[in-house]
């Protein structure tokens, strides 16, 4: 590999890198925020936040008849087999799937169960901490 070829290779790689990062950052910042799973009803909120430990997973739909949509309603399965829907207005990592399958501690307000998914309540998430 000559010195000229090395310089050309470096320039090409730098240009490709700058373009790739620029394009992907633009795409990332213009990504549509995920919509909440269920509408938040103010009167359903408990006065104090709760903290629940469990594993991030996808909730099962209540109605399994007919065609199923391949989307994931983010939920939390606890050690005592309770399922909570996670409502993340601020698009926390759980919503984007980063913590999927991981053991976490979720803190937030407990509201009524999700209407279309099997759950024991919906947590309006304030924080999610991986354990």
């Amino acid at each position: 590999m000559t010195k000229r070829q090395t310089v050309i290779a470096i320039i090409v790689l730098v240009l490709l890198f700058v373009f790739s990062v620029g394009f992907n950052v633009w795409r990332e910042t213009n990504r549509q925020p995920a919509s909440p799973i269920v509408p938040v009803v103010e009167e359903d909120l408990t006065p104090e936040p709760i903290s629940v430990q469990g594993t991030i997973n996808c909730l099962d739909p209540k109605d399994t008849s007919g065609s199923q949509v391949l989307s994931c309603a983010v939920g939390l399965k606890t050690d005592d087999n309770k399922n909570y829907a996670l409502n993340n207005p601020n698009d926390t990592p759980a919503q984007s799937g980063i913590l999927s399958g991981k053991n976490v501690m979720v803190t937030g307000m407990l509201t009524r169960p999700a209407t279309t998914y099997k759950s024991d309540g919906t947590i309006l998430v304030q924080t999610i901490k991986p354990l």
Binding site: L13, F17, V21, E28, K77, I98, G101, K102, N103
Partner: protein
């Protein structure tokens, strides 16, 4: 007037830093991240969910091992060190100790651009510092003993191949994440190609 030292202490420190960095890598893979699996199928699913972290760990461990082997080979020919050489080695070790952190980020934040590029950037810096240290040692004849021409040529080609592949992996990682690390396995073939 330049002062020269034995490389004995540098080699001991470097071996220790590589050993600790390679061991720390596994901490990100504790079984706590697999949830409460109660059947083989659930455990398999949890393992699959952590595939990105597992891939990053294996690749990082093997890459650190190969970079340690490069260091070991280089020091077969380096007899003494000066102040600048020691400083380059310190920077090289800084890149080594950052590998567990960037590996963890690559495993947990692979859907974010910055999360995808930090590990390949870290490795590129490590490869560049390794190359820089070797070039410095070779240019200062007092530091290197008489090195056979074929060893010099072979080291030059290998260093360039590692840098080239690291650059390619960096660009591709922006698009596909940790799966691009598989390209590191092509280094021996690129070395063979460049030797033609």
């Amino acid at each position: 007037m330049d002062r020269y030292f034995s490389t004995r202490r540098i080699e001991a420190l470097t071996d220790g830093v590589f050993a600790i960095a390679m061991t720390l890598l596994v901490l990100d893979l504790s079984s706590g991240g697999f949830g409460n699996a109660s059947s083989s199928l659930q455990l398999l699913k949890a393992l699959n969910n952590n595939l990105s972290s597992i891939t990053s760990f294996v690749v990082s461990f093997l890459l650190l091992g190969s970079m340690w082997a490069v260091h070991m080979r280089q020091f077969e020919y380096i007899e003494r060190a000066d102040r600048h050489f020691t400083m380059i080695n310190t920077l090289r070790l800084l890149a080594v100790v950052l590998i567990p952190l960037t590996t963890s980020i690559a495993g947990n934040y692979s859907d974010i651009v910055l999360g995808r590029i930090l590990f390949p950037l870290n490795f590129l810096a490590l490869a560049a510092l390794s190359y820089w240290q070797w070039r410095y040692a070779v240019s200062r004849k007092v530091i290197s003993q008489k090195i056979p021409a074929d060893v010099l040529e072979s080291a030059e080609i290998r260093n360039r191949a590692i840098l080239l592949i690291s650059g390619v992996v960096l660009v591709i990682s922006v698009w596909v994440g940790p799966i691009a690390f598989i390209l590191f396995t092509t280094v021996p073939f690129v070395v063979k190609f460049l030797k033609r």
